[in-house]
Symmetry: C2
Subunit: 336 residues, 2 copies
DNA sequence: TATCTCAGTATTAACGTTAATACAACGCAG
DNA sequence: CTGCGTTGTATTAACGTTAATACTGAGATA
């Protein structure tokens, strides 16, 4: 029963006023009389009225929706950001339309097209590739507010992200300060921030006057736990193995920790291991993992704020908000 | 330039035909002539036309959207399901509108209202409370397809979930088979499936003729890692501590593992620990955690299929799909 | 040649809402 | 008692699309 949803018209008929009066009353306009308003509100409640968003958005040209495009819906870092964003935007009345590109460029394009077709008011994107931003640029050029959540060096687009190079350099410096000179790097090619993280590592080593040994840099070809396991195996069975290892991801680091454990290599006595992202599980690793903290909350907050700005006020120059990450030192790192 | 989005009308004016002809042509109707069609398609491309979804949905009464309400956007299990669901639904042309209730009943209500207002074609829900389903029931009663993703005992609503009691019983039985008699249970009150998991534990013990010692059942008051840590501390400092512990969540189990590690208690020699969910990180725990596998992919697949069914064909009797979980045995469990 | 068919296109009316404007009734100042 | 602002409500026109129906001209049919 009552399979049809109630519309303004239904309320209007029931109360004997015009549709427009109902609309005004429900929106709290002072122009409708006390008693009429009450009758209308009561009818609305009785009919369990919910405004038809499509109709509203068609006429107001506001959708109260922002699109959020993630590269991976299961990444703890990304979902943390997504969670905060959702909360932040919801507080302002916006709904989050989520899509995942799962590392696929075509999926990314499709998601953007969907966002456009649905007339979202703005789009937040973790791009798949740092260089290949054509689709995103096109969308932005068409007047859609677009904010990138990775790729601090990007020109011509708003960006809110962390300084991944800085984080990486910080971690490397910390290891150097502990007395390490041979520091391995496991960096997954496709992970967000690839080149930047390698750059930070190089920078820290250069500053300390340590020559970079290319044999100590290994791309695991993925960012799963098993890839970290394999990469660590590779590094520690080298003729002249590193005494410390920097991983581009906690996942990778934890895979590495597992290899150490299985092979009787004590962390941090035999090797120090440094993660990246400060995932919740890093705390429960064996041993608890030192990691570069990804300030998800601040990113989300800044991004949400900027997004609302972009939606409500017409274009300024593009903005670039780059947060500096800090370190969380636990017990997977120690001096020589 | 071109800040205004192109509409059918623009294409119509440009090609000199009527709006309706354009609409037909773009939808591939055979009723429009070859040459006209080509001119229209070309114009559409030139103007970078994207259909206005709000307008479409207003008249077709199909939104091609399903709402997904999660209790926690950062839970690895839930996001895994969300990911698969998104992929599955996207393949059928549906977009996923995501919301998180974050364990708050009012947020849940608000999210459902949003879904309704946006005229989603269906709603998938991880409910906050098993008993308090009023809002969800009301939505379903209004004709909206609704599928619950937890709470196998629920009447009158479609449910796709796993048999949590069975999973829990399986795990307990495994520990019993290994020779354990004093088995602790850490079950977080609010986690999905609370009562069921306890029931499974009781059931397995009863079957084996082991009396349940209430002192061995501890509710950690949350499902974080630190709560698991504290709960394990509590259990293992008992006068007569358990020789095996079943945790209602991998997160909790991993918190427990950490406590053991810090306190020189070897797992599995001194205690066996069993997790629940088979989170990715379980594999990298120290030691790798035995866990009840949550078949996220199957859940998502079944839920998506049922949802499309509900959207496309009018109501049958409510359906209840309950998958049986299996165990993943790693090295955190061993015999006495 | 008159009629019938049919392909191709146009016209009209929805969908549910908001926005702009018009109207009616009323009290009140002049 | 005329005119005027005020208050409350109604009317009309949008928004961009689809659906139903109406028209038009040309070739086929009788």
């Amino acid at each position: 029963m009552g399979d049809q949803v109630a519309t303004l018209k239904d309320i209007a008929e029931r109360t004997g006023v015009s549709v427009n009066t109902v609309s005004l009353a429900l929106r709290g306009s002072p122009r409708v009389g006390q008693s009429t308003r009450e009758r209308i509100l009561e009818s609305a409640r009785a009919l369990d009225y919910t405004p038809n968003h499509a109709a509203q958005s068609l006429v107001t040209r506001r959708n109260m929706t922002v699109g959020l495009l993630l590269t991976d819906m299961t990444s703890p870092v990304l979902t943390q950001v997504a969670q905060k964003l959702e909360i932040e935007l919801k507080a302002k009345g916006y709904v989050t339309l989520l899509a995942a590109s799962n590392g696929d460029g075509e999926e990314e394009e499709r998601a953007l097209a969907t966002f456009r077709s649905r007339q979202v008011d703005g789009v937040l994107v973790y791009p798949n590739h740092r260089r290949h931003l054509d689709g995103i640029r096109r969308l932005a050029a068409s007047g859609m507010p677009v904010i990138l959540l990775a790729g601090k060096e990007v020109e011509g687009l708003d960006v809110v992200t962390i300084d991944e190079q800085h984080g990486s350099a910080l971690a490397a410096r910390h290891l150097i300060d502990l007395g390490h000179r041979r520091i391995g790097l496991i960096d997954s090619e496709r992970a967000t921030g690839n080149a930047e993280k390698i750059d930070g590592y190089r920078q820290a080593l250069a500053e300390a006057g340590i020559e970079v040994d290319p044999a100590l840099i290994v791309g695991p070809g993925g960012h799963g736990i098993s890839q970290g396991y394999a990469a660590m195996a590779h590094l520690l069975t080298l003729p002249d193995p590193p005494t410390a290892v920097l991983a581009s991801t906690d996942r990778i680091a934890m895979g590495g920790l597992r290899w150490c454990q299985e092979n009787g290599i004590d962390v941090p006595t035999d090797v120090s291991v440094f993660g990246y992202d400060n995932v919740e599980y890093a705390e429960a690793a064996a041993p608890p993992l030192s990691s570069v903290n990804y300030p998800a909350e601040q990113i989300a907050q800044a991004a949400a704020e900027l997004m609302l700005d972009r939606i409500n006020t017409s274009a300024d120059a593009t903005k670039r908000i780059v947060l500096k990450p800090d370190l969380v030192i636990r017990s997977s790192t120690a001096g020589r």
